[in-house]
Amino acid sequence: MKKKYLVTIYSIAIFVFVVLYLSLNKNNVYTTQENIGKKISVIELNYFDKPGEFNIQEISNFNFTLLNFWASWCGPCRKEHKHLVELSRNSNLKIIGVNFKDDKKNATEFLKEMGNPFFILTKDPEGKKSVNFGIYGIPETILINKDLKILKKYVGPLSRKDVREIQRIVKK
């Protein structure tokens, strides 16, 4: 009888330990991994400096597209800009900029000062259209292929390592 109780107590203890161990080791920070492999939605973004809308489906004309969400008021965007300028030299990749909740004059000055790496520049002044891309802060960058599939999603400023990774993928 005593042996039975011991087995029960040990079983419960092991069960509690396993549950706690698994829960504590689970990453509770939001990641964008779930977006990888998904197709991007049909969204129309307003052009930055001309009337009309750019349909995001049109990027199927390019081999690879980098969708970059940025703003002139965002410090990390300034930090990553040189990497975008570098990537814009790659003929296999087109960079589409989405100017996020920004002032047009400030954004224009930003590009004048830092260079314009964007093949097409659009804007999302209210930030609502960016929700369709799962954006929750800027800068964020999405690498998309011809089939409109998300290959990579970078939250925060692009690093040297990210640039190398993008160049490697785009080379294929």
Binding site: Y30, E34, N35, K128, V131, F133, G134, Y136, G137
Partner: protein, 121 residues
């Protein structure tokens, strides 16, 4: 007659907008603010939360159901944005374990009581 029509129309507009408002509030209460520490979108005033509030209000006004709005947001941000974990393959354990433990506990208790009563007899 005209006044009566006006009253009825006003009443309908108020009822619909109140219904939409409470539906929006209910949805926002079940959404996690991804840039805050354990706050709901409803409680947060962060830039992200304000945008999501506007998007949800728009979707409610467009006539989307609560389920459709949750589906849209979890498709964009993952299930992590929902406080109420949906029933999926990987959440079966979470949803059914309490019931299994409850039934198991009841069964053990029943057997123990039965054995003791038999002993007393």
């Amino acid at each position: 007659m005209r006044t009566l029509s006006l009253i009825i129309i006003s009443f309908l507009i108020i009822t619909i907008s109140y219904g939409n408002e409470s539906k929006t509030y209910k949805i926002l209460k079940n959404l996690r603010c991804l840039v805050c520490q354990g706050q709901t979108i409803s409680d947060s005033n962060s830039d992200f939360a304000l945008t999501i509030k506007e998007v949800v209000t728009e979707k409610v006004n467009e006539g989307l159901s609560e389920k459709e709005i949750y589906y849209f947001l979890s498709d964009k941000y993952g299930d992590w944005i929902l406080f109420n974990t949906p029933l999926k393959k990987n959440s079966y354990f979470l949803w059914f374990m309490p019931y299994v433990l409850f039934i198991l506990g009841g069964a053990i208790l029943y057997i123990m009581i039965k054995k003791r009563t038999e002993k007393i007899k």
